[in-house]
């Protein structure tokens, strides 16, 4: 199957999956008794969190692969997944904040999960800043691989430390303790599937864009006569 048709097929499937997930969320899953309709944001929240987690694990593996194999495609995979992961982490933080305002009566609290996501956002934001600061492709790839590995190693420490960062707000209830009706779980699975596919599509598009960037860069260099 040609690449373009495959990509378009994936995008069409993602549209379908999102339509399905959204209708399941709003028409099939029951409205939560206490929180009401605001609970529906949870399906977006968890979907984005899954995509973010996939991104950062992918970047870690790609970082190791680049340092051992020295193939540029691992660098592209790592960079693309961190870019996409930053978008989804931002979504996680925003949706969580929107949910927290009516339910916890605060936009933000120093709960372990919230703090961990925020610190991760900073770590991978630093990755992107580092990426922009190194013009030489090989050097950039190595530095970014190192940063992705270090950032991922830090995650367990971040989570441990977040547990004592501040005493947890008394009204905070963890998302995991929400009892879910079976219909809610169906809607959740659909939205997780939709978000995973969206993640894959975005990742693929970013990798392609980075590929074009690199080709453009080498063409420019050839024009300047820097490279044979």
């Amino acid at each position: 199957m040609p690449e373009r048709i495959r990509d378009n097929l994936a995008i069409a499937t993602a549209w379908g999956l999102f339509a399905l997930a959204i209708s399941l969320v709003f028409f099939y899953a029951p409205t939560e008794k206490v929180m009401g309709v605001i609970q529906k944001i949870f399906y977006v929240h968890l979907g984005s969190a899954l995509a973010a987690a996939l991104s950062f694990s992918t970047a870690f593996i790609a970082g190791i692969a680049y340092l051992t194999k020295r193939q540029r495609r691992w660098d592209r995979l790592g960079a693309a997944s961190i870019e996409v992961g930053m978008v989804f982490t931002t979504l996680v933080l925003i949706t969580g904040s929107l949910w927290g305002r009516p339910v916890w009566n605060t936009w933000w609290t120093w709960d372990p999960r919230l703090t961990t996501s925020l610190i991760l956002w900073f770590i991978y934001g630093a990755y992107l800043i580092l990426r922009a600061a190194v013009p030489q492709p090989d050097k950039r790839a190595t530095y970014c691989a190192v940063m992705a590995i270090i950032g991922f190693i830090d995650v367990p420490v971040v989570f441990l430390s977040a547990r004592l960062w501040r005493t947890i707000h008394p009204v905070v209830i963890r998302a995991g303790s929400i009892d879910m009706a079976p219909a809610m779980i169906v809607a959740l699975v659909a939205s997780l599937a939709a978000f995973s596919l969206l993640w894959l599509i975005l990742l693929r598009q970013r990798i392609k864009a980075l590929e074009l960037d690199e080709r453009l860069f080498s063409l420019e260099q050839r024009l300047d006569g820097d490279m044979p």
Partner: protein, 222 residues
């Protein structure tokens, strides 16, 4: 091992001859201790944990200042090329830089910590041996993280300006634990209350020393 001491000796002697790093670190740390005081209402006394936060913000900011120095010094006269040509392994180089950085930060702490007690009250001065242990563990973690990142940022166009942006997100958890533990010491809580966090701090220092040893080679090869 001999090479390792040679490198450490070289870095520390350069610093002793012209103590630009330590002097600016201590000065900046002192400045921060005074600056952070503006957050206090006049006449108020800080809660133990807030005081610990003030102390560690001052120390870690001063540390970043010094961490950039040891690597950029190698870059100035392209000394790094000489180092790479010499029969020193990347691991040895990392260990030596780590030791030198540790010594620099520790030296600045020798002034910053007493100044802190002078400015913020010696009622916080309890269990000096435990406090020293906490400081050593935190300094080890900061030095390990900072050594790797200073090697990294030395190779970028933005040089030392980039170091704090990479350094702080990674050490944030370590600093959070350190502040909490230091606050508990200031409050006079028994060691058993926080001893498990000391293990986490030690683990952080070990993990990042290990990671730095492994990752220094690819970074230097560029």
């Amino acid at each position: 091992m001999n090479l390792f001491w040679l490198l450490v000796h070289k870095d520390l002697r350069a610093e002793l001859r012209r103590p630009e790093a330590v002097v600016s670190m201590v000065f900046f740390g002192f400045l921060l201790l005074v600056l952070l005081n503006v957050a206090l209402p006049p006449g108020a006394r800080l809660a133990p944990e807030s005081a610990a936060g003030v102390l560690w913000v001052a120390i870690s900011f001063a540390a970043v200042l010094g961490l950039g120095k040891t690597m950029s010094r190698e870059k100035d006269n392209r000394c790094i090329d000489g180092l790479l040509l010499s029969p020193v392994s990347a691991e040895t180089l990392f260990a030596a830089k780590l030791t030198a950085n540790f010594a620099l930060i520790a030296a600045s702490e020798l002034s910053i910590v007493p100044l802190f007690f002078v400015l913020y009250g010696d009622t916080f001065f309890r269990a000096p041996a435990v406090l020293a242990g906490v400081i050593i563990l935190a300094t080890g973690g900061m030095a390990a993280t900072g050594t790797l990142f200073s090697a990294l940022t030395a190779g970028t166009t933005r040089n030392e300006a980039l170091l704090p942006l990479l350094f702080y997100p990674i050490v944030m958890p370590l600093l959070a634990i350190t502040v909490k533990v230091t606050g508990m010491i200031f409050q006079g809580e028994p060691l058993a209350q926080y001893v498990s966090w000391l293990y986490v701090m030690g683990a952080y220092a070990l993990i990042f020393t290990g990671a730095g040893m492994l990752l220094m080679r690819p970074v230097l090869r560029q």
